[in-house]
Symmetry: C2
Subunit: 397 residues, 2 copies
Amino acid sequence: MGEIKPLPYFKDRYKVDLVFYVDEIVQVLQDRFSQHGKPVLFLLYGKSTDSGNYSKPASFEGIEKFDTDLGTLHPILTECRVIKSEMELGLIQYANDVSSEAHIEVMRQAKPGMKEYQLESIFLHHSYRYGACRHCSYTCICATGENSSILHYGHTAAPNDRTLNDGDMALMDMGAEYNFYGSDITCSYPINGKFNSNQATVYNAVLKAHNAVISHMQPGVKWVDMHKLAEQTILESLKNEKIIHGDIADMMTRRLGAVFMPHGLGHLLGIDTHDPGGYPEGLERPKEPGLSSLRTIRELKEGMVITVEPGCYFIDALLRPARDDPVSSKFFNWEEIEKYKSFGGVRIESDLYVTAQGCKNLTNCPRETWEIEAVMAGVPWPPRASVTKAENGLPKA
Amino acid sequence: MGEIKPLPYFKDRYKVDLVFYVDEIVQVLQDRFSQHGKPVLFLLYGKSTDSGNYSKPASFEGIEKFDTDLGTLHPILTECRVIKSEMELGLIQYANDVSSEAHIEVMRQAKPGMKEYQLESIFLHHSYRYGACRHCSYTCICATGENSSILHYGHTAAPNDRTLNDGDMALMDMGAEYNFYGSDITCSYPINGKFNSNQATVYNAVLKAHNAVISHMQPGVKWVDMHKLAEQTILESLKNEKIIHGDIADMMTRRLGAVFMPHGLGHLLGIDTHDPGGYPEGLERPKEPGLSSLRTIRELKEGMVITVEPGCYFIDALLRPARDDPVSSKFFNWEEIEKYKSFGGVRIESDLYVTAQGCKNLTNCPRETWEIEAVMAGVPWPPRASVTKAENGLPKA
């Protein structure tokens, strides 16, 4: 494993006050903290509001010589994680810069005949070789054609192994991680580089929702309202295109937005892709379709980093029950929807930092259809000044 | 996660006799195997002779309705894994073909000024994009300069982050995995593409050992004897170069080979990089330096796949005690060894299949110093007919 580094190395690297070797822990804690009796160790133990699982508190040989407190630390540390420091923001911005560039590289190389996993490989390579990002925040979702309506595509049993066809849409949900801080970005585009009419319809519906949410975000705004704004914007676009008809407010009451967008609008992002703190003590997860998938329903606060990721999908398993229900069925133009049967879906996802007055988009990918078509045809995409493709090393972090 | 595939899909894909959904397991087992009373389930449970840990037997809700046998299956399945079928060999050969090509790609792109992790990224990308290998068998060891004497370099605390210098040796231990079957290959070469005299000395000592072992391998040969053959070959070369002096047999008795090669000659390879079966019931791990690191001491059998990976390293932590010991100290020419102080080390590793008459090398990398220099200068390396760089898909497996 190599030589053991001296203690000052770790003190300097991690900017901590005291450093000791692990096998000294019992002695050091006893020597330093026994003035007022048996020392109390505050351990991190709490429930993930996403999985329902509990975090495993730290342990070591001899821990029974101390009192432990399992309740105090978790809510405090979780709240610390919700509001990002400048240094944390810098890391998330860097991961976003690298991922944005890597997405553009993938976009440019994608061609009919390739395999989805080859796009994954290009993303990973670009992020690591040029961005020093050894890991991604999550398994890459490289979904094309019908697969783009499978929200968690890309896992071991569906390992991005489809061949890309002319006429497919691609939904690329990939984010690099740097020094443990993640990014989470989705780009959707036609594999052949040109949006056809149906593709542009669905894409623009989602983009309008994405932009509407971003333009409304600021401290004090309720995230549930942003989710509903995205749903409503998408429903309005689909109504304009005669894919659905009837009263939008009525559809919203019946939660029909969730037929097209069966996931939450976004989630906190940081050390975890789905960062904790979405449901602090007292906030309960909603029960209604769509809203029940929200990983937070908090009010926005300055310093939060949160994803904005509206989507519109044509999923048989959700359209079928909507059609079978006599009340919801009448809102849908089933003849028109038939044309989107094997369309899949579109998602557009950016990472937003909430500022005092509004928000800042940390993601820098082409979003307008004409921008995407131009970038895929080789037009340069303005790189941020902070990103260099230097072959020779880690950025000055 | 996508639609659940129908049962016949799994029956065909995994070539099994019967397929049911997981939630039917209790019912199906009871219905089909209760004729003679409570059915007995043979579960896989046994000790890893490497880690000392025990495998966790399979479990499911309702397993208490059955009798379980934890002892029968493990030795039988382990022995099945020691001898590879033709289909298994095909997968290991494919993983070797992809990895050999990827190593050559890395070799060609390596230049002073790059970072070690960039070589890792090139390997991963080549294996995935062109070989459909999503995973590697183990974390890539991309060690250059002094790092090449750190046997398990590349881990999270030493993440291949050094800058490549002109004059460094590189020790690249990387292997792609395909359909769960692995490869395990090490190439060592000078970063600037030209061996200097000291580099050629150490490299050729190791290559001679690598080739000597391969030329002796056949069913019935004891692996401990191969390990000793490698040690002896290396010691002889070092003696010719006046790095050590004295009687080789004497050095062997004193286990001084382990000062330069403090790891085993090789290990079984398959589903696991360190495949099980190295120490079946009755075989005890040796205690002597060097030999104690052997992951097997078996006799070779037709159908085994085993790595041959001799190495020669200059490790301060091992040379120091050898110097402090008045008896061993006199075998070393300390003035000469001083010249190799920051040399690091060399390892050459190939994957061998034991045949009825001898063995077959599954790895296809340039090994002679002149071959390596030529390949690094751009001379084509003869690809095997079985390997294609087709962009468009998985090989017909």
